[in-house]
């Protein structure tokens, strides 16, 4: 409550770890921080110029905690196993896919992520389903476990800003998640290259990297959601359950509700004009996009399947004359740009909520 004199969220988020220290300091010194207590950073910097900021120290500590924890190892194991499994099924069916398309070997590496022989979901299917679990698992006890262990008030009594802790929790988890997904994605690509024997083109590589960035955004959303719940609820079990409830809602029930709605809203087939059908389709599409799951699916499938040319309904005349060729990378990215922004915005909204909640909360001992 008392420490609202803090710099803006982007200014704080900018300092990710020690390597971005320089950037962080230059921002702090910049004009964007008139709210900080006067003289305070100047003293810090001049007395020990080489010491990392409190934020950097906390990020390092959090990353170390994550990597040492059993929870992280378990989650990593689950994700790694599913990736291996989906790679295996993709390998089984990739021969058929390659054989049937009479010599068209475009985007073979991308197919590793998107096809399956039907026994197991695809790579992106798995990531879409298990990514939230990973995010929730990393964040659901971020603040309330500190509170329950009695460490929160001890850390808060140190000369740090109150938001440093929250920012560090978020940044550290996101760094760990990013490393994990980038490693897994590159490993899958490398294994695929080794087994198939066709190296990825630059475009494929860029597509995979952007797919990984979207995945990180998506997992970051769930991470932030669970951090928000961990600020709000005192018991880790409550916050974990609430996060899982939201996850289940968007994974299963949201679609069911949409179906119910669509039945009610559908124009009658006898009297509907093209206009009616179009507006109805668009409405359903936008309603569906309220779910981060839909956004993620649209974004990743478009990025990994260049043959997808659009995400909404098309009229006959729009299709007329179009060449059925894959989209270039830039166009695919342009197509899903709104989805990516949507995911990032959802993440930021959750973060803002947890930020405000945390700054307004009273720091007491365990209670």
């Amino acid at each position: 409550m008392a420490e609202r004199t803090t710099p803006s969220i982007p200014a704080k988020l900018a300092g990710v770890g020690r390597r971005l220290q320089a950037l962080f300091e230059s921002r702090e010194k910049g004009p964007a921080k008139p709210t900080r207590a006067p003289g305070e950073t100047a003293v810090e910097k001049s007395s020990h110029p080489s010491m990392p900021s409190a934020f950097g120290v906390l990020v390092r500590k959090e990353i170390a905690d994550h990597i040492r924890s059993w929870r992280f190892i378990l989650l990593l194991g689950i994700i790694a196993l599913t990736c291996v499994a989906s790679l295996y099924t993709a390998m089984n069916s990739i021969r058929e896919a390659l054989g049937s398309e009479n010599g068209v070997h475009d985007f073979v590496i991308l197919k590793l992520f998107t096809i399956s022989d039907g026994t197991l979901p695809t790579f992106i299917g798995f990531v879409g389903f298990l990514g939230p679990l990973l995010g929730i698992g990393m964040g659901f006890d971020a603040i309330n476990s500190e509170r329950n262990k009695g460490t929160l008030s001890r850390i808060m009594a140190q000369p740090i800003h109150r938001d440093d802790l929250l920012n560090a929790k978020f940044a550290a988890s996101l760094i760990v998640i990013s490393f994990m997904f980038i490693t897994l994605g590159l490993l899958t690509m490398a294994l695929g290259t080794l087994i198939i024997g066709i190296p990825p083109t630059l475009e494929e590589f860029l597509r995979i990297i952007s797919f990984l960035v979207v995945t990180i955004c998506y997992v970051g959303f769930w991470l932030n959601l669970s951090i928000t719940f961990s600020v709000r609820f005192r018991q880790p079990a409550t916050s974990a359950l609430s996060s899982i409830a939201v996850w289940l809602f968007f994974s299963f029930f949201f679609d069911m509700i949409l179906q119910l709605l669509s039945r009610g809203l559908a124009p009658s087939t006898a009297s509907a004009t093209v206009q009616d059908v179009m507006s109805y389709q668009n409405l359903m599409l936008w309603l569906g996009r309220l779910s981060p799951y839909t956004l993620f699916n649209e974004a990743t499938t478009t990025l990994l399947m260049p043959s997808i040319r659009n995400l909404g309904p098309l009229t006959q005349e729009q299709v007329y004359g179009a060449i059925a060729s894959p989209l270039p990378f830039g166009q695919s990215l342009l197509l899903v740009w709104p989805q990516i922004i949507g995911l990032a915005a959802a993440t930021l909204i959750c973060f803002a909520i947890s930020y405000v909640l945390f700054l307004r909360q009273e720091i007491r001992g365990r209670s």
């Binding site: 409550m1 008392a2 420490e3 004199t5 207590a37 305070e40 810090e44 007395s47 020990h48 080489s50 010491m51 990392p52 409190a54 120290v57 906390l58 500590k61 905690d65 040492r68 262990k149 009695g150 460490t151 008030s153 001890r154 850390i155 808060m156 009594a157 140190q158 000369p159 740090i160 800003h161 009273e362 720091i363 007491r364 001992g365 365990r366």
Partner: protein, 340 residues
């Protein structure tokens, strides 16, 4: 001696209850001040406001000349705070926990390590420096907490219920340690507790804090004088019998206004016993002034055997029972008595 903590008319409410009610308090450099009060008196709230972790509704605070509500960071750099029931990262060792605190205070690692080991020795935890804090006992945790607070070489340390949940030996050790550190390093110590008896031994001054208000402050002697100014002095005499003539004689001593024989605590079967009947009778005398010499003379002149004569000082027990025991409810009835 300059004032390092200056609180003026501090008020803080939660919803409709007043946690701290127009509190004014000054603490001087180098003294050990005990903030004593029952649970829920507002001690922790006051401490949180001193550190800028909570915002006051009105009133002003100055810690080392800085307003902690507006500038919490410079205050927290120079003030150490040991929270109520402190916790540590349980999968880290004691030393690692101290090193984290040092880094957050921007102490270079090599200096910090030296200081941490030195402090661990001072609090007697050298043997456990490389043990994970999850395996620490409660007393060890509190001592590690003290080392943690001292890592940043503070000018003031604030300890919230430092003795809670420790066995009597451990408590005495911890308090002695606090006193020693305070004397050696000229630290100002503010400690809160509801364990009046133990804590007052090391405090230079205490403040009695009940229901958000500071009832009295000073050393224990002056405290009882202010608190019991209007109360009669109690004199207990042990006699072998109390004949009515003697009762009248004592009653006629100037100043005495009540004589009372408290009922025997033993059951009827025991009182019939010849042995217990020979035991002296306790007589409780209330007087406006100290008239024990006259009472003694009267008793001896009457030919009654006097076993003991005891003038009861209003000590901590009285203070404790009057203000602390029963917690909030007691506080309320006393409030009513005082205002009415």
């Amino acid at each position: 001696m300059d004032t390092v903590i200056d609180i003026q008319e501090l008020t803080k409410s939660y919803h409709d209850t007043r946690a701290v009610d127009r509190l004014s308090l000054q603490i001087k450099r180098g003294e050990i001040f005990g903030l004593l009060g029952p649970n829920g008196a507002g001690k922790s709230t006051t401490i949180l406001m001193l550190l800028g972790l909570s915002e006051p509704d009105s009133g002003s605070i100055s810690v080392l000349g800085i307003n902690p509500t507006r500038e919490p960071i410079p205050v927290k750099r120079r003030v150490g705070y040991l929270p109520d029931d402190v916790g540590f990262y349980e999968d880290r060792t004691g030393l690692e926990n101290l090193m984290l605190t040092a880094r957050l205070n921007r102490i270079p690692d090599n200096q910090a390590r030296e200081r941490a080991l030195e402090l661990l020795e001072q609090v007697g935890l050298t043997h456990a420096a490389h043990k994970k804090t999850g395996a620490y006992s409660r007393g060890m945790r509190q001592r590690l907490g003290l080392a943690d607070v001292l890592m940043k070489s503070p000018e003031i340390i604030i300890l919230d219920e430092p003795t809670l949940g420790i066995d009597p030996t451990g408590m005495e050790e911890l308090l002695r340690l606090i006193r020693k550190l305070s004397r050696e390093q000229g630290l100002t110590v503010l400690l809160s507790s509801h364990q009046l008896h133990q804590v007052q031994q090391i405090c230079d001054r205490v403040g009695l804090f009940v229901r958000g208000r500071l009832l009295a402050e000073g050393d224990v002697g002056s405290l009882s004088r202010t608190l019991f100014a209007d109360d009669p002095i109690m004199i207990t005499a042990e006699l072998d019998e109390l004949v009515p003539e003697l009762r009248d004689a004592i009653g006629s001593i100037p100043g005495v206004h009540q004589i009372e024989v408290p009922p025997a605590k033993s059951g009827p079967a025991e009182s019939n016993d010849t042995l217990t009947r020979d035991l002296p009778i306790k007589v409780l005398i209330r007087a406006d002034r100290d008239c024990s010499p006259e009472i003694a003379r009267t008793v001896v002149n009457a030919g009654v055997r006097l076993f003991s004569l005891n003038r009861q000082q209003h000590g901590l027990d009285e203070i404790y029972h009057r203000y602390f025991a029963g917690g909030e409810e007691h506080g309320r009835t006393n409030d009513a008595k005082h205002t009415g």
